[in-house]
Structures are given as structure tokens and as C-alpha cells.
């Protein structure tokens, strides 16, 4: 095992402020859209950097960033932030409440009270951080975060304790924090008591269960602002990982996005996965919220080129932190597909790259030798590979360039044949399979611009490069092995998530994705040469609800990528009518080109067996 020199914890949730700040690379445009005065929905699949971005809005983390835009943003963050952490294991506990208490209402009451206490703890934790921050060297931060002396701290605590119905042993932030931990513990005890009846809920000592988090947050802002002498100071509440929260918490926060009353002083930044069944219905119920109620920042790169810049920057930061200062190109070498970018005749030879003595031209020739479908395609279009230099540039672009990636794939993944194409079985994979996808920029595309994928794929590669003191590019063998390893990890995760349909009983959504991948591969390797095979799919109405739910789950895990028809779309509450493609790492597993091409309906792709109509279209969001 090669030691990973970079980010040795699995996610950003509990990295130190310094670790996050010094390694921060801002995704293009995301930070400037986050610092708005509006509510913001920050969406992206797991690993897309939502937690990091939210944490960068806190002064305790931001102060460590020394990127080129840091000074500009230091002035723009003219508000204070409360980071409310969450994760799957805690929400998993909250979700067990309905199984342990007598009624669903009681489960919601206890769950909301636990969540409320957790928000209050986050507020107090921020107060402690603000008081402990070293004196900031910029004016905005210094103005926003004056230190509270003991008297002022006591004032804040005694007022808040009253409103939060808390009895700390002393009016200090630390004692408030302890009292809130005890409250959470008390709620756990109540959960056990309630197995024997609801009487405990009416007890006077449990009236705190009905404290409303909105009122508690508002009071915290007002009291701290007042004591600090900053009545107009704005607050942002940063809610992380809301996609794994129980529905009742999600619905409550979503409905708050419609609240106008506190907007000037308090706003939310909610981190969500791309698909959420509760989002739109809740907003619609509370007055058909439109874009003016919140901003949407999407961290998904449906088109691979849009993610290159961010991926390259993060990779190069990893290389620099390993002690070298070289480009990604030097680290990875050139991709098998890099000839795609240049199409004019070579200046020295005057020959087209499709000439049969050039690397690309040889691929075309080899395919023509073994693929009758391709020969027929060329004949139908009167294309003679032996006389390709005589072709007009426009014609070359419209014919040969258009089919390049399909030609490469069919040639690479087929065996010699004198007649019809003899495609490799999809299940046969070797290192050679993955070697095709090595090099720059294909390796960048495989990460989807997702920081976790970037770190996962590149950590060992950077370590290998460092070990060789940057003398030679990292071999294709090692790159291929890392691709293979990343795919294995992603597929293991996908196995854990169930698919509800009886056809997939006992299987995770991975089997469903395997069906999609196999169908797309069959399209690329069909007997007739396909010049524009489908590489994405659109969900048609009438698809079995279990498949719809599986698509939502795959989307949130990053296994599928939403391809919006317009530049940017909202959080998806329904997948019907939407277009999706496979994550490019999975596309490698299915031996597919790393491109979008045209779409096909899911029903056409997988056949009618998947389209059992059901009257109730129920989504399951229990990912």
C-alpha cells in the first residue's frame, strides 16, 4: 500500500479548519454564488465538496485560505455563519425512533427536539470559536467578530438559557454546551421511557421538547447581535448533509425557505444531494417558491469539459503539496483520445491525421479490416480511407471526426474478424481495458470534477510520481490499476443500496446500472456501425416506480449524472422526463466512450420488461 500523503481522513466533515482552508480549491463560480444574502441550495452527489464549501463560509476555516481570490472573498463574507454538521450514522439513529416509540408523532417530536438541541449546540460552538479566534487582520472580520468579555458572555447565556429552556450550571458557553449534551442524553432516555407509554411527554420537565428551532436561532442571533453592539449583523446557518436527514427535518427546513420575515438577518445554506423527493412538493405546498426564494448552486459537471479546470487545479495542488511543481499533463502523459483536439493537416507532412500511416488513421484502417459494419458505413458514404487526404476539411469533420470515439472503442474492444464485428464480451476485463482511459485529460474526466474522486484516483498516482522524483510520467499500468481500484470502491458502495423491484430482489441498484451499461455497450458494438449511438438515457413516463427510485438513489451517490436540458436546473423531485448519463468511471467499466452523444428513452434502452405501469408513483428516498 502506498501511503496517501494527502487527506488521510475520508471526508471534510471533521478535518481541522486549517486542513480545509489550506487545501481549498474553489469550484468555478460556486463561492461567489454562495456568499449571496439569499438562501442557497448547494447540490451535488457525495464527495462533490459541499461540506468543504459550507465550512469555507465560516471565519474559523476561511482565515486559512491563501488562494488568489482569498482577499476578495474575505471582504464579501460580511456575515457570521453557524455550521450544523450531520452524517448518515446520526440520522440513522433518528430514523430508528418510529420503531422505538409508540407513535409517529412522538417520534417526530423527539427527533425535532434532538435536531433543535443539535442546532443550539452548533450555535454555542460557533460562539466559542469566535471568542477564540486570533485578532483578524482584515477590517470586515474584525468588525463582525468582536470578542465578548465574561460579563457579555454571561448575558448571552442567561438570556438564551431562558428561551431555550435550559439550566446550565453557570452562564458560560461551555456550561451551555454541556447542558445541551445532557438534554440530548435526556431525549435518549425519554425514548426508552416512552416504550411504556406517553405519560412522560406531559411532564413539566419535558416542556423543552416543544422549543422551536426557528425561534431559538432567531433569539440567538438577536441576543448575540445586541450584546455585540451589531444589531444589523447577518447570520447564515449552514446545514450539511441534509439528504440523509429524516424527512420531517428536511420538510421543515425546506418550508422555511419561503419565510420572508427573517430573511434580512438570517439565511440558510442547505447542502443537498441532486435528487430529493420532498423538495418541490414542500415548496409548492408553501406557496410555489420560485428562484427568487433561493439560489441554486450545482456542483455537478454534466459536460466533462466544465470540470477540467477545477480537477486540474486540485490535482496540481496535490502535486505541489507533495513537493513537486509540474503540470497534470506531465504527471499522466497523453490520453489515447488526445488527438481529438487537433484536426488540421500536419504542418510538416501536409497529411491528415486520418491518413493510414498516422496513429489515428491506422485505427480507422484496422477497424475497417475487421468490422464489416464499418466497411459498409464507409461505402455508403463513399469514403475511401486510402484517399482520405483528398477529402474536403468540412466533409472530414462531418464524417470521420464525428465517429472517432466510436471507431476507437470498436477497434479497441473487438477481435479480428473477416465479417461482422467480433466484440469482446463485456464481462471480460483486464488491465488493458482500463489502459485505454489513462492519460490526460481522460483521467480528469473520470473524476467528474468530484474532489473525493479526484483524491481517491490521484493520491497514489501523485505518491508514485513523487517517489520517482518526477522524472517520468506515471505508467499507464499504475494509472489503469488506480482506475480499477476506484471503480471497485464505487461498485461496492452501489451494492449496498437496494433496488425495490422483484426482478432485482437481493441485489443493489448496481445490477440495474449494470443492465443500463450493458445495453449502452451493445449499442456501441452493434453489428451495424452506429455513428451516433445513445450514451445517455431519458426517463419516459410509465417506468416502474422502483426504477425511478433507483435512478434517484444512483444520482445521489454520483453513479448517474443528471444532464439538464438548460444550463442549470433545480433540485430534482421527479426523474421523469429528465436525461441522465452514467458516471464516467462506471462508463469505463462498461467499455463506453467518455462522451454524452444522444439520448434514448429508458424503456427503449432496457425493453418493455421494465415498464410495468403502476397507479401509485411512490418514491423511496431512504438512501
Amino acid at each position: 500500500m502506498i501511503d496517501h500523503p494527502f487527506f488521510d481522513t475520508f471526508n471534510a466533515k471533521h478535518k481541522t479548519d486549517q486542513e480545509i482552508g489550506v487545501t481549498f480549491v474553489p469550484p468555478s463560480g460556486a463561492l461567489s454564488r454562495l456568499v449571496t444574502r439569499d438562501h442557497v441550495i448547494l447540490s451535488g452527489p457525495r464527495g462533490s465538496g459541499k461540506t468543504t464549501l459550507l465550512k469555507m463560509l465560516t471565519h474559523s476555516t476561511f482565515r486559512y485560505w491563501n488562494g488568489v481570490e482569498a482577499d476578495e472573498f474575505r471582504e464579501k463574507i460580511d456575515f457570521v455563519s453557524i455550521f450544523v454538521a450531520a452524517d448518515r450514522s446520526w440520522h440513522g439513529q433518528l430514523k430508528t425512533l418510529p420503531q422505538t416509540v409508540p407513535s409517529a408523532d412522538t417520534a417526530i417530536l423527539l427527533g425535532m427536539s434532538a435536531f433543535t438541541s443539535h442546532i443550539f449546540k452548533a450555535i454555542i460552538s460557533a460562539f466559542i470559536d469566535w471568542n477564540e479566534l486570533p485578532s483578524p487582520d482584515n477590517r470586515t472580520t474584525a468588525t463582525l467578530l468582536p470578542k465578548l468579555d465574561t460579563k457579555k458572555e454571561s448575558d448571552v447565556c442567561s438570556h438564551l438559557a431562558q428561551i431555550w429552556m435550559l439550566a446550565p450550571r453557570a452562564s458560560t458557553f461551555l456550561e451551555m454546551q454541556k447542558a445541551l449534551s445532557e438534554r440530548l442524553s435526556h431525549i435518549g432516555m425519554l425514548r426508552n421511557q416512552l416504550k411504556f407509554g406517553n405519560d412522560a411527554l406531559t411532564s413539566a420537565e419535558n416542556r423543552f421538547l416543544f422549543v422551536d428551532y426557528r425561534e431559538g436561532m432567531k433569539a440567538a442571533a438577536e441576543i448575540h447581535n445586541f450584546v455585540s453592539g451589531l444589531p444589523e449583523r447577518r447570520w447564515s446557518f449552514l446545514f450539511d448533509e441534509m439528504e440523509v436527514a429524516p424527512s420531517f427535518i428536511q420538510e421543515s427546513l425546506f418550508s422555511d425557505l419561503r419565510g420572508e420575515a427573517n430573511r434580512p438577518k438570517i439565511n440558510y445554506k442547505l447542502a443537498l444531494a441532486p435528487f430529493n423527493k420532498n423538495f418541490r412538493p414542500v415548496l409548492d405546498e408553501h406557496g410555489a417558491a420560485s428562484r427568487h426564494d433561493y439560489q441554486h448552486v450545482d456542483l455537478t459537471f454534466a459536460r466533462k469539459e466544465n470540470g477540467y479546470n477545477f480537477t486540474r487545479q486540485l490535482c496540481e495542488l496535490m502535486i505541489r503539496r507533495a513537493g513537486l511543481d509540474v503540470s497534470v499533463e506531465k504527471l499522466l502523459g497523453t490520453s489515447y483520445f488526445s488527438f481529438f483536439d487537433e484536426d488540421s493537416p500536419s504542418a510538416s507532412s501536409g497529411l491528415s491525421k486520418y491518413s493510414d500511416d498516422r496513429p489515428l488513421g491506422k485505427i480507422y484502417s484496422r477497424l475497417a479490416d475487421k468490422d464489416a459494419g464499418f466497411r459498409q458505413y464507409l461505402t455508403d458514404r463513399k469514403l475511401d480511407l486510402g484517399n482520405i487526404d483528398k477529402l474536403d476539411e468540412d466533409v472530414r469533420a462531418k464524417t470521420l471526426r464525428k465517429i472517432r470515439n466510436i471507431v476507437v472503442m470498436r477497434e479497441y474492444f473487438s477481435r479480428p474478424s473477416s465479417s461482422s464485428i467480433n466484440a469482446e464480451n463485456l464481462s471480460s476485463r483486464s488491465r488493458k481495458t482500463f489502459t485505454l482511459y489513462t492519460g490526460n485529460p481522460t483521467m480528469l474526466a473520470l473524476t467528474e470534477g468530484n474532489p473525493r474522486s479526484i483524491i481517491g484516483l490521484f493520491s497514489s498516482i501523485v505518491a508514485e510520481y513523487t517517489a520517482s522524483a518526477g522524472k517520468v510520467k506515471v505508467s499507464e499500468r499504475i494509472q489503469a490499476e488506480e482506475i480499477q481500484r476506484s471503480i471497485r470502491i464505487m461498485r461496492s458502495l452501489l451494492k449496498t443500496v437496494p433496488h425495490g423491484d422483484s426482478r432485482y430482489q437481493g441485489k443493489g441498484i448496481l445490477s440495474f446500472l449494470d443492465d443500463i451499461g450493458a445495453a449502452l455497450y451493445n449499442g456501441v458494438m452493434s453489428v451495424d456501425f452506429p455513428d451516433n449511438p445513445p450514451l445517455s438515457f431519458r426517463v419516459n413516463p410509465g417506468v416502474n416506480p422502483h426504477h425511478l427510485a433507483a435512478i434517484g438513489k444512483a444520482l445521489n451517490l454520483g453513479a448517474l449524472v443528471y444532464v439538464p436540458d438548460m444550463d442549470s436546473e433545480d433540485i430534482i423531485s421527479s426523474v421523469i422526463g429528465k436525461r441522465f448519463r452514467l458516471n464516467y468511471l462506471l462508463a469505463v467499466y462498461y467499455k463506453l466512450p467518455i462522451s454524452l452523444d444522444r439520448d434514448i428513452t429508458l424503456e427503449s434502452l432496457l425493453g418493455r420488461r421494465l415498464s410495468a405501469r403502476q397507479p401509485q408513483m411512490e418514491f423511496h428516498n431512504d438512501d
Partner: protein, 307 residues
Amino acid sequence: MTIDIFNFQSDTIGSFDLLIFAVGYEERSRFVAERVHQDSDIIVGYQFDDGHMFSFASNLGFLSEIGGHIMHANDTLESMLRSLGIVEFINKKICLDVSSLNRGAMAAILAELIDSDFFLGVHVTVMYAIARFSKPASEQVDFLDFAPLPGFSGWTSNPERPTVLVLGLGYETDHAIGALEYLDPSSAFAFSPIGIDERFDREVFTANEAVFDVIAGHRIVYYRVMAPYDTYWQMRSLIFSLIGSARVVLVPMGPKIFSSLCLVGQRVFGDEISVWRASGHTLAGARDVSASGEIAGYVFRRSAPSR
């Protein structure tokens, strides 16, 4: 309530007031019962609703031969014993064979034995018949049931603390790495079993290569399946070093004896610890398993009622 854990000597097993074992489809289901039924007053066979194949019929026949009673998935142990006219079971000696119990059934039975006043002061000898080695099923069975185990989900008073995952490794390929990815913890440790057959150890390593790649070597704890008492202390030591600064999630895969230690341990270590299950629902990969002849075990004792 206090729970004490003791070592177990298989050559001095003694007698029991109650023997509980699973009437499963594995031949090894009855291995422990065959050795202790003559010294057990009441015998209860836990019968699953499905999986009535392979050695199930002969195991059921054996239960009948030795005069055992069937306990179904929805029954409680207390109701089962009350139906036999028993009104209390305080300070009794119980043998619980976990070899063929699934984690859900094991959690339900252990929760009752540890929490119910009906079983105050009991001594529970947990036994596990180690299987004869066989290669893992070639078909990789997807695991889908990934959630806190009912009754053992814990309850944290510090949700802001980092989650530390403690995985028990088994030889199902990539299950552990899937759990790691799914729970997305801040840090992870793994307990890797050392069995009585080197082939088993090699399979465990191969199935978990991806885990060994992402969890640093000093965070892998190797434990001997035959020494659960030692394993308990290894686990205790790790958990007490984490508990003040993290929320610990135990995900026991691999030998059932390790799962039982996690469940009993959760009660000892407290509500900041949560035990999750990660196992398949289906019987697609089911196969018969015979016992190797070795039995591992430990004893836990609940504090006696005050008189």
C-alpha cells in the same frame, strides 16, 4: 446494570437451565446442541421463516428428538418460557449458540437477555461452532440490509462529534469497503479475524484488499476467532480510547461470535456506541456448512437483583 465478561473453557462447559440454538439450514446449527443438550433443562430451537433447505429438515428432526421447543421469529423468549409455565428466570444459566443465528435474531435474543427483568442475574455462555473451511460462494451476494440493529442503535448526546467506524471483516468480497463508503465516516478501524484454517485467513485478506488499501495498517486489529474473551478486551480498549472524542459505529461482519461481542459490548460501553448490520436478505448465496469441531465462546453475567 452491570455486565461482566468471563473467559470460557470448552472442556468445562457444565450444565444449563436453558439452551438456545438456531434450527437453520446449516449442518453446524446443531453441533453445539449435540454436545450440551443432555445437560440442559429446557431446549429452544429458533426457527426462521425461510431457508428451509439443506440440513434444515434433519436439524428440525434433531430438535424434536431431544425434546426441544420451537421459537418463531416473532416470539419473545419470555413469552416462550411463560408458555411453559415458567414465571421467572432469575440467576439462571443459559447457553446461547450463535453459530447459525442471523444478526437480527441474535440482536433480539440478546436484547431480551440483557434488558428484560425476567432474566435478571443470568449467566449466558455464548458459543460458536467454527465452520469447516469452504470457499466463499462464487456469486457475490449483494448486501442490502444496512441499518442500525433494532435495540442496539444507541443514542448520541454529541452528534457533532466525528463518526468512527469499527468494521468486523468477513470473507464476503468488498462488503466492508461498501459499508465504509456508505457510512462515510471520519475515520475507520477494522477487526480482521484469524481463524483455525489459513485458507480462511487468505480469503479474508483477498475479499478485503480494498479495505486494507484505505485503512492504515496500524488501524487494523487482528483477533483470534477462538479467543473471544481476548477480542472483547481488544475491542474495549479501542472503544474507550475513542469514546470521549468520537461516535463509534460497529459494523460486525464475519464470524457471528464477533457480532455477539459487539452487541454485548454495546450495552457495556453505552449509548454513544451504535451497532449496524450489513448483511444480505436473500438466500441466493446460501449453502450448507458443517462444523470443524472447534467451539469458541465466552460468558457474560448480568448483575443479580438486589434482595
